[in-house]
């Protein structure tokens, strides 16, 4: 866990509202499924913004984010060379090193990017990966999965690209040793339920509003089967069977 200054290497719009930010890594760690708290402002905004690691390259950290509000707006305006502060790596991440055999990564919307680094780290751990990636209408980041995945299944809600409907329609958990999912809660609940039925372990990555990002403020606590857990520190990755989906 470090708090450090970094430099923007690149910040590109890759789809409507979707940007990829590349920053100097400065030796920072990044397990698949971990995230960083980012800020490129001083005190104009109170809080830093949690963004997952999209890719951890040798000297670079990549983040893929959607412009949704004030913070991501400011991020979206960053130009090469700009300063940015990073706090992280935050959270536990996926236990890639403990997995084996065949794993499905199931992502929806902005849950897709963190699964890219995850697919890579799984592949490096000798795991075979299939990706199931669901989008509303426009695809982003799909090609980044290609080096790491056996098969890639894509869906859009109205069928603009790939399968028409939800990506969960395509998934058959039975064929996998483990399922890893990240995306809207409604999707993850569905994936979790399917995995429970098929008796396949399922890891979910949660989102929650965060203040500190490091476990100090209890702003992101959720009730789980094992008591209160901090999404930022004890998560964001939880075994689906530990979750209560209490929202």
């Amino acid at each position: 866990m470090r708090y450090f200054d970094s430099k923007v290497l690149d910040n590109q719009q890759v789809a409507e509202d979707i940007f990829v930010l590349r920053v100097e890594r400065n030796g920072a760690e990044a397990k698949a499924g971990q995230f960083y708290m980012l800020k490129s402002w001083d005190k104009e905004l109170t809080l830093m913004r949690p963004i997952s690691v999209f890719k951890a390259e040798k000297d670079e950290l990549w983040f893929m984010y959607r412009l949704v509000g004030k913070g991501t707006q400011i991020l979206s305006l960053l130009e090469k060379g700009a300063s940015i502060k990073l706090l992280g790596p935050c959270g536990n991440g996926y236990p890639c090193e403990k997995l084996s055999g065949k794993v499905a990564v199931v992502g929806g919307g902005l849950g897709v990017p963190p699964l890219c680094e995850t697919s890579k780290q799984l592949t490096h751990a000798g795991v075979t990966v299939d990706a199931y990636l669901g989008f509303r209408d426009v695809l982003f980041g799909v090609e980044d999965f290609e080096p790491w995945c056996d098969s890639i299944f894509v869906s859009t809600e109205k069928g603009e690209e790939g399968y028409k409907g939800f990506v969960t329609d395509l998934l058959k958990p039975e064929g996998y040793d483990c399922v890893i999912t990240c995306g809207p809660e409604i999707m993850m609940r569905k994936v979790a339920a399917m995995c429970a039925e098929a008796d396949v372990p399922c890891y979910c990555s949660l989102e929650h509003r965060m203040a500190c990002g490091i476990g100090a403020c209890l702003g992101c606590s959720i009730r789980t089967q094992n008591g209160m857990k901090r999404v930022c520190k004890d998560g964001p990755v939880f075994l689906s069977t530990d979750l209560l989906w209490n929202s």
Partner: protein, 303 residues
Amino acid sequence: MDKSINLSVNIAGVPFKNPVIAASGTFGFGEEYNELYDVGCLGGICSKGLTLHPKDGNEGIRVWETASGMMNSVGLQNPGVEYFIANDIPLMRRFGNVLIANMGGHSLEDYVTGASMLSAADIDMLELNISCPNVKSGGMAFGIKADVAHDVVKEVRAVCKKPLIVKLSPNAENILEMAKACEDAGADALSLVNTFQAMAIDIRKRKPVFNNVYAGLSGAAIKPIALRMVHSVCKQVHVPVIGIGGIYTAEDVLEFMMAGASAVQIGTVNFNDPLAGKNVLEDLSALCRREGIVDINEIKGIC
């Protein structure tokens, strides 16, 4: 840090190496921030708000950003006094600075039992939170009416063997009467302010953001009001006062001390800058030098 400038202060007989204390609820028990810098450099640390029994806190959204501030509705999630004494105090002790246990409660009995347990444990000071606006059952009332506060402080005072800080709510009907009531009841020091009761609405969902509807506002936004309250309380009481509320910079620290505070607590700024504690301290000694302040106690209450 500039060794030629004296930043040490004394509150109710407890020496602090400097006047910058981490505020309750924003700093855990110090562990997490200690991964980023030596939190022992701070004057002291207030533990997260404890209650006699463990509490899960509130459901739903707990933190929400606002203009120059934030709202929280954590609802006093904590492991309870007993667990704290057994597990967290030993860890906090390693930091080598002043250990302040912050405690809230729902009933007079809980306050008294919790306070007597804590005061028998290895803490330096007890900070009594009579103000948390998040817990529906009780909590609020203690911090609103001066006579109710007087009663709880008096009972706690009777069982507390450690210096007792009473932390005031800005939602008190009359902050001066409240301060005087707590002083009369035996508080050794006062700290203020806690968060302001506030609200946010999610217009898309057409619903309040927080399950409890109201939540506590903190951060730079409240600083001018907090400063006014600290100033007016300092003019009225004889016990030392710890200033809290939107303190982000060394300049803010001096403002609160010039208004009469003996020390300050920093809360929300830790989220904006995880190294805030260290940075504010470093800036403070540079600022004192620039302003020709040799001993920080010189400027206390000069406004």
